[in-house]
C-alpha cells in the first residue's frame, strides 16, 4: 500500500531559526496536503499542492511539491513560538482520490 514518510520526526529550533520538514511518498501522488496539529488539538488544513514543481507561500511558510510528485517540503522562515506543533503531510493517489494517507509527522519545538 501507499506509504508516506516524513523527516525529521522531531525538530528543536531557537526562535528566529528556520525549519524544514520533508515528505516522501512510495507512489506518485495526485496531490499533497499539509496540516498543522497543535498540542492537544486536531489537524488543521494548511495548503494543498497539485502541480508538479508547484511552490506556494503563506507568509513565512513555503511549500514545495516535487517534479515527480512523490515528495514535498514545508519550510518555515524565522520560526516563532506560535509555530509549535506537529506538521503532517498527507497525500492522495489517483486510485483512491478521496482517501488521505498521512505522513508520520514532524514535531516542532521552538525555544524562546
Amino acid at each position: 500500500g501507499q506509504q508516506v514518510m516524513q523527516i525529521p520526526q522531531y525538530q528543536h529550533v531557537q526562535e528566529g531559526e528556520d525549519f524544514t520538514t520533508y515528505c516522501n511518498s512510495s507512489t506518485t501522488l495526485s496531490n499533497i496536503q499539509w496540516y498543522k496539529q497543535r498540542p492537544g488539538g486536531h489537524p488543521v488544513f494548511l495548503i494543498q499542492l497539485v502541480k508538479s514543481g508547484e511552490v506556494k507561500k503563506q507568509k513565512r511558510l513555503t511549500f514545495q511539491f516535487g517534479e515527480a510528485k512523490k515528495n514535498s517540503s514545508l519550510h518555515i522562515t524565522a520560526t516563532q513560538t506560535t509555530d509549535v506543533g506537529t506538521y503532517f503531510c498527507a497525500g492522495r493517489t489517483s486510485g483512491s482520490a478521496r482517501q488521505l494517507t498521512f505522513g508520520s509527522g514532524t514535531q516542532l519545538t521552538v525555544l524562546p
Binding site: 486536531h42 495548503i47 478521496r98
Partner: protein, 115 residues
C-alpha cells in the same frame, strides 16, 4: 467550511466494554472518515463511511471491532467494541474533500482511555 462536533470529547472505560462515538457535521457530506491517532503518532484511517452503504474498512480494522453507522448525510457513529488498553487513542471524525482547495476537515476528536 465544515464544522464537526464529536461526543464524547473524552472517556475512560473498562476493559471489555464498548463505547460509541458520535460525529455531527453542520452540512450534508457524502463521505465521512474515521481516523485513529495513538499518542505521539500519525493518523491512521480506520474506515470510510458512505450514507446508505456498508463502511469500507482499511487493512487491520474489522467491522466486528469497529462497527460504523451512517444513517444520514450529517451524522455517523463509530463503536469501539470489547475494548482493551491497546484501543486507548484519539478517534477523529473527518469529512472531505470539500471546497476549491479540497480540504479535509477534522472533528475535535474523542480521547479514549481503556483501563
Amino acid at each position: 467550511s465544515a464544522v464537526i462536533s464529536q461526543k464524547p470529547s473524552r472517556d475512560i472505560c473498562q476493559r471489555g466494554t464498548s463505547l460509541t462515538i458520535q460525529c455531527q457535521v453542520d452540512s450534508q457530506v457524502t463521505m465521512m472518515f474515521w481516523y485513529r491517532q495513538q499518542p505521539g503518532q500519525s493518523l491512521t484511517l480506520i474506515a470510510t463511511a458512505n450514507q446508505g452503504s456498508e463502511a469500507t474498512y482499511e487493512s487491520g480494522f474489522v467491522i466486528d471491532k469497529f462497527p460504523i453507522s451512517r444513517p444520514n448525510l450529517t451524522f455517523s457513529t463509530l463503536t469501539v467494541s470489547n475494548m482493551s488498553p491497546e484501543d486507548s487513542s484519539i478517534y477523529l471524525c473527518s469529512v472531505g474533500p470539500a471546497g476549491g482547495e479540497r480540504t479535509q476537515y477534522f472533528g475535535p476528536g474523542t480521547r479514549l482511555t481503556v483501563l
